[in-house]
Amino acid sequence: MELTRRATVAMVLTGGLGTSAGVRLLSGTTEDPGTISELTDPELQIVESVAEIIYPSGSSTGTALIEGYLSYQSSDRLRAIRNASRALDTYAKRRYRSPFTTLTTAEGETLLREMGVDRAAPDPDGTVSERVRYYLVNGLLYALFTNPAGSRLVGIDNPRGYPGGYESYTEPLSR
């Protein structure tokens, strides 16, 4: 059976639970009629490029993790993510005369810091830097650190926000 994108996403969200009997999440994982397809492939690549910059080197930053995160976002949220991505790309073209996705990781990080994204308060309705911080940087960090892909870097198998089963709390932390 060919898995749809959304089915893949559901697997990511329930990752680690594949063999656990009796798991049944509430039907659907999206709100309103939002679908990840509201992002074009180039826009999705911008999001993934940001992830390459801000994710630690030891984490698995597969596309599935990011798409899993995007899959349950509302239409409004996806639109805002798209707008922040476009604004970032526009800044890159103006500053480096290149699309954001063609920058090296080092150039991309320099650009984010030049924009003040690291110093900006995350604000969904704020300036470009504040929106990039809110929708892209913090959204991606949320995706990573509510998933074992990120949390295991600090010794947590089942972080808050991840459906890793309740049995995990009976053991001491592995770190």
Binding site: R24, L25, I54, R119, L141, P172, L173
Partner: protein, 554 residues
């Protein structure tokens, strides 16, 4: 108060039913389902909205993000929910309730103990407050039925609990790693611990998922494993009940004789008014709004508020004050995060003498570090570091992981919470504040509240126990909440107390008002005393009992 009486003509137009229920929380849902299931035509009016079940992951993200609304992910606040707090304690009312289909159980923790026998007999046993007009034995079968309907996971390992007839519907959640550390210390102190009954699925139950460990029970359970009142609203709807959301009831009207309620007048989203007439009315709007609606429904016949011949409506508001002790221990105590606790002790609950009052101890699965919170703050663990970000910038990538590892190493903190019994005090009230109005021009509720001397002394007693436990654990850097500034459990009780004397109580033992023959209040408002147990299972049991009486009348 001036009300536009124009009746809307859309789908929210005036209607009639056998039963009109105000409030779509757990009490309203249970009553609605019982009555709709017996074939009666039920209409439920809910002030808040119907939340989509499918956006709970987004609500969780909002709750976990440091720049989000915190636990307020259900839209509380604004002029609809305006209130004042005039007592000795600034009561954060909107943090303690949710308006919407499901009500406050959308954000509750889900702990479901039964009250103990002594809680119903405070006057005859200790000369304190009043007895309930019913005892534990009367409520006992309804407790069992509530546990079955909500789906309660538990074990019969509690030697201090009241008698029960059956096992719990589901096995208890296993104890956490942190619990084992507490158990060792408590054994040395001759304190016996036990598991915790909770309305959270430890296995698939009633078509809902088992708990999958999102660890965000408060404020939102994305899996639906935690019971919430919308479960029974859906069941009621399947049985034919109609729910009208975003329909805040403005007042109830009664007949000329003042003997029965004739209509509920509610506001529509477009500012019109519509009317529901019915044979029976149930106010199930929580302890605060139930009292407020009665007070807003004052008339010539009932100048002090509907069903308020006694003058008691709004009085005896109760909560559960508590203090928490926490400390650092040598061995790594923190298991993976978990949104609920799995061990308590009720050893200090029943008492032979009037003082100290009942205590319940909850051993927290300490989870001081929210990984997503700290990660999104660039690894900052203090406000000061957050402030410096403006100049220095936040970390991400490998630098962030280093900061997270460093910060989490120092956070091996255990905590115990003691909840105390609070007596009903006449001066603790929910009243109308006429100096401030909501978006419909109605006076807002004023919560005037203080802890009271006996509860404070009970907390003093609790502090000694908590410090003993921390000492036995060998904990360092121990902090204990001040008994002068206790935390509160968001447990609202009192305001339409139950009783046999119409001059001293608002409803009778069947939860029907003494004054009006077809008006029932189903919520924590009917509690005569509060005990120190989480009240929701008792609210559920009382609601099921009330539904039987209403069905008999119909």
């Amino acid at each position: 108060m001036k009300i536009n009486e124009t009746v809307a003509t859309d789908e929210r137009s005036s209607t009639t039913a056998d039963v009109c229920i105000v409030g779509a929380g757990i009490a309203g849902g249970l009553v609605a389902n019982e009555l709709a299931g017996r074939g009666y035509d039920v209409v439920i009016l809910e002030a808040g909205e119907r939340f989509s079940r499918e956006n709970r992951l987004s609500r969780m993200e909002d709750a976990l993000r440091p720049s989000g609304p915190g636990n307020n992910v259900w839209g509380m606040g604004g002029s609809r929910d305006a209130y004042t707090s005039s007592g000795g304690f600034d009561y954060p009312l909107n943090e303690t309730r949710v308006k919407g289909v499901g009500g406050s159980t959308l954000h509750w923790l889900g702990i479901t103990p039964r009250l103990h026998e002594k809680d119903f007999e405070m006057n005859s046993r200790y000369g304190l407050a009043e007895d309930w007009p019913i005892g534990y034995e009367t409520l006992r079968p309804y407790y069992a039925e509530s546990e079955r309907q909500l789906g309660v996971a538990g074990s019969r390992d509690n030697p201090f609990g009241p008698p029960r007839e059956t096992d719990f519907p589901m096995d208890a959640f296993p104890r956490s790693h942190s619990d084992t550390l507490f158990e060792r210390a408590c054994e040395e102190l001759d304190i016996e611990t036990h598991t915790v009954p909770q309305a959270r699925n430890s296995e698939v139950y009633d078509g809902r998922s088992q708990c999958v460990g999102f660890s965000t029970c408060i404020p939102v359970c994305p899996s639906g494993a935690k019971y919430s009142g919308d479960v029974h609203i859906r069941k009621a709807e399947a049985n034919g009940a109609r729910v009208i959301d975003r329909a805040p009831v403005q007042r109830l009207e009664h007949d000329d004789a003042g003997e029965s309620v004739t209509a509920a007048i509610y506001a529509t989203p477009d500012g019109q008014r519509a009317r529901v007439t019915a044979r029976q009315f149930v106010i199930a709007a929580g302890t605060v709004e139930t009292a407020r609606l009665l007070l807003l429904s004052a008339s010539d016949r009932y100048p002090n508020g509907l069903a308020n011949s006694s003058g008691v409506v709004g009085h005896y508001f109760m909560e559960h004050p508590g203090i928490e002790a926490s400390g650092l221990v040598d061995e790594p105590p923190n298991a993976n995060p978990i949104g609920f606790h799995t061990t308590e002790t009720h050893q200090f609950y029943d008492h032979e003498t009037a003082f100290p009052g009942s205590l319940k101890l909850e051993f927290r699965n300490a989870n001081p570090t929210s990984l997503p919170d700290m990660a999104l703050r660039g690894g900052d663990s203090s406000l000061r570091e957050d402030v410096l970000d403006v100049a220095t910038g936040d970390a991400w990538g490998d630098e962030l992981v280093g900061l997270l590892q460093e910060a989490m190493e120092g956070r091996t903190r255990l905590a115990v919470l003691a909840s105390a019994e609070q007596l009903p005090l006449w001066e603790n009230t929910v009243s109308l504040d006429h100096s401030k109005t909501d978006d419909f021009g109605n006076p807002v509720p004023d919560v005037s509240f203080s802890v009271g001397e006996r509860a404070r002394r009970t907390l003093e007693h609790a502090e000694e126990i908590l410090r003993d436990i921390m000492d036995e654990l060998g904990a360092t850097d121990v902090t204990v909440d001040s008994i002068h500034d206790p935390r509160h459990a968001s447990h609202h009780m009192g305001t339409t107390r139950m009783g046999t004397d119409p001059d001293a109580s608002v409803v009778d033992s069947r939860l029907r008002t003494h004054d009006l023959s077809n008006l029932t209040t189903a919520s924590g408002s009917v509690f005569v005393t509060a005990g120190a147990m989480n009240p929701t299972l008792t609210i559920a049991a009382l609601s099921l009992k009330a539904a039987e009486h209403i069905a008999a009348d119909l």
